[in-house]
Symmetry: C2
Subunit: 342 residues, 2 copies
């Protein structure tokens, strides 16, 4: 379940993935938080009926409450649905495109959220696909729209375009040189938000940062995408320059960091997902800086998702307590990484 | 230069080494700290002349000040001479037996200190050799001796027998279960001192503890040795029982600790001597508990000495700053340990 990774990706030495999502609401229903379960189901049925032809057999439909807690979390850990969707599991559902590059979430914070997901730096492609799906939906559904404000959304921060584009960046060297905080401040002042690996409120584990637009109002979709793209390119350059500098002056320390993580991942018998993520980030750094010579960026991304708690349990097809998961995780990683050099 | 390890050793799953030393002073000289350099040299010459026949060609003589600082430290790191001897390097000298099991230090804190050193638990042998050398010296030298007090020494804590017997123990499991402090307190109350790896004031790095007699007065040499031997056997049993218990209830955690250290030693590019000692202690633990199946306790002891700062520089035959040593140390260990299982 990582089909979305099968796509050529740009700048993959710094950019992990690109995500675009739009928020839409049907004008004849209250916002999701105000709907009863019955009303939510009604809305879901209506959407499904009206979109049947549009979506055809490329999509699979899941009612969240029909999935086990573990299955729900697997989709979140794979970034295919948002954590918010399963917080409202009795009302929510989603359609997942077979190539996993698009999902349509129903009754998350808004009635409809379309998400597209691509590996590496792929803002144009992700926006193109998202916009395309949006157009086809809009032909069949009547959205809540205000001619002055734009699309109306449950939370005022999404009003307007309802668009959030975000790019996940791996910034170990900007972080290592203590330049991340000033970068975050600087980005904040031009309307760009920085978050950690698993969305809002999560800490930047493994030097992974999600960079996204703060404002959805007063700019066209294309302007938002173009601006974010520019900012991302600047951050990519800054990270690459810092790497070049560190490679010249701190190569030994970098090698030590990379190889230590390699040693721990190859030998540890107990690994929490947090610790594993930190070491996998260092393995990625080793590949990015050509300290490690074999290995694939996408393998590291895949492994980072595969070792999350629900994914570990799905792999072994059983409920596990924390210690069992930590042991299973160490086994999965040991097996996986023994095929990598270093 | 680890010939003293070539000897069968008992209880080597817990006991690293056994050391016995006696302190003696010549009655016609002031104590070493009160001697001028000339007077120290006079005393040294007298001792050498009078002991010439006794010591024969089995011993090599070193005047401390003729050795480079690095060479002096190598002997300390190998436990062949005491740190105190090189603190008075202009006055001191030593005779080292070719098999390294005995050294005679001149003008350390006392005029003469005889040390014998054996691997594993070997108190009887170490005392026998030390006593034997002492007897032969006493036939030729007139010692400061009081019929009520016994041998007179520079520091009152050594008056009487002048004997200090010490056993170096590896106690990872007593330490891990937080029972070390109460053990140290208990031993203190029966006149047994506990110190770290490199003698007085040094912290117990790598779970290595030196257990020795506190008092030298009011007991015969044989009583001191016998009492220490009994105490050591009790500690060995306590450590072994704790290991058995942990192996039953915490095997996974132990394996994780051992294999992580193995991974770090195999992969790190920078290692301080402190960190390396901690990980080597865990490798030793792995051998002791049969988590690692191949490898020799004596190899680990040897490696722990080989990676000390002066030994590293002697190996590469050049002065190195701290970073160079840490890198060289990681290289030495990586090479060495890649031949061990695990």
């Amino acid at each position: 379940m990582t089909k979305w990774l099968d796509e050529p990706s740009l700048d993959e030495d710094v950019v992990v993935s690109t995500r675009v999502r739009i928020a839409r609401n049907l004008d004849k229903y209250k916002f999701p938080s105000l709907l009863s379960i019955n009303e939510s189901d009604e809305l879901t049925d209506e959407v499904l009926v009206k979109m049947k032809e549009v979506l055809d057999s490329n999509y699979q439909f899941f009612r969240t409450r029909d999935l086990s807690d573990r299955e729900q979390l697997v989709y979140v850990e794979k970034h295919l649905i948002s954590p918010g969707l399963i917080q409202e599991k009795n009302k929510s559902s989603f359609l997942l495109r077979n190539d996993e590059k698009a999902s349509i979430m129903i009754n998350e914070e808004d009635h409809i959220r379309v998400q597209t997901l691509f590996p590496g730096s792929n803002l144009e492609k992700a926006w193109e696909l998202c916009s395309n799906i949006d157009d086809r939906l809009e032909e069949n559904l009547k959205y809540a729209y205000d001619k002055d404000l734009g699309y109306l959304t449950s939370c005022p921060t999404n009003v307007g375009t309802g668009l959030r584009a975000s790019v996940m960046l791996h910034l170990p060297c900007i972080t290592m040189t203590n330049n991340m905080n000033s970068l975050i401040e600087g980005l904040g002042s031009i309307g760009i938000t920085v978050r950690g690996l698993y969305g809002e409120g999560s800490k930047a584990l493994g030097n992974l940062y999600q960079i996204s637009n703060q404002t959805t109002l007063g700019q066209s979709e294309e302007e938002i995408i173009e601006k974010l793209n520019k900012v991302v390119q600047q951050i990519i350059n800054k990270e690459r320059n810092t790497r070049k500098h560190l490679k010249e002056y701190k190569l030994l320390e970098l090698e030590d960091k990379v190889y230590r993580s390699s040693g721990i991942l190859r030998y540890a018998r107990i690994l929490t997902s947090k610790e594993a993520t930190v070491h996998l980030s260092n393995i990625r750094l080793g590949l990015e800086m050509e300290i490690l010579e074999t290995g694939d960026f996408k393998d590291v991304i895949k492994l980072m998702m595969d070792i999350q708690p629900a994914n570990i349990q799905i792999r072994y097809d059983k409920d596990m307590n924390e210690q069992e998961r930590d042991t299973a995780r160490a086994n999965v990683i040991r097996e996986y990484i023994s095929n990598m050099e270093g």
